[in-house]
């Protein structure tokens, strides 16, 4: 709620949530109303600015996270390939190898 037209005049109202219920505060049409309106407008602008900066950072991070994800997936796949090629196998998310395979790998 903001400026409202009543009987041909603009009056400023501010609605806030207090203890779960809506509370409307009347500011009238004088200098106090102008100040309150300017304050509300400034707070709104600040929120928009913060949101804009946040969205910009998040979008930039998305591309950088994509690069990390690619390296992450590649490293995981190559580690898996190396361990599989040496005879290790994955069991219950743990890498295991027979005694022979372990002995061979450590002697290389």
């Amino acid at each position: 709620m903001s400026w409202q037209l009543r009987d041909g005049h603009q009056y400023f109202y501010l609605t806030r949530r207090k203890n779960g219920s809506r509370q409307t505060v009347y500011f009238g049409k004088g200098p106090v109303a102008q100040l309150a309106a300017a304050d509300v407008e400034a707070a709104k602008l600040h929120r928009e600015q913060v949101r804009g900066e946040f969205c910009m950072t998040r979008d930039r991070l998305r591309s950088l996270d994509g690069l990390v994800r690619q390296v992450d997936q590649g490293a995981r796949m190559l580690l898996e390939a190396v361990l599989l090629s040496e005879g290790f196998y994955l069991s219950h998310r743990q890498w295991r190898g027979t005694r022979r395979v372990r002995a061979l790998s450590s002697s290389r």
Partner: protein, 197 residues
Amino acid sequence: MSELSQVPDKPPVLDDLNLLVQRAREGDESVLPELREFLDTRPELWQHYGNLAGHAREAWIRLISADDLALRESTARKAEDLARELAGPEPSVVERLLAERAVLCWLQLAHADFLAAQALQKTTKIADFWAKRQASAHRRYLTSLGALVTLRRLMPGQAGGKPIDLSNPDTSSKNLESSVSRPIDPEHQLRFVGEPM
């Protein structure tokens, strides 16, 4: 985005590797010699991920340091030191790649830590976003270190770094301490743009 415009193209050998890994996962032992040969004779595979990791590292350092060239240089040196320390004295290609991945995760975590601390003064929604991001970056960093530990535990002969003796809790924790939880030297600590010295 500029970060993505210079990303190296995916080499075609990756699809072949995927097929071989898939067969090996299904327990086909006949594919193992072929897989070994493939890994030994396809340097472009390792080069691709090496280039990608280098590119990603540079992009993250640019993001963290913005226009502060001194901070860029010190962050780059710190990342290089960490990569060298994690990879060990004579790293194999896979070890180097895993160390590089851990460095990337460390940069991501440092960035998330800083922004999560800053976001405490902002709205709950933004603070929640950075807190979640910080938690997932931390998990990813630990996973990347875990992969290095797995490699050194299973293949100590091939991994160039110091093998980790898991039977001795003293030495195994020292191995991690030396690279991860050592006290941070304030001279070399990562600093962000706008943060007081």
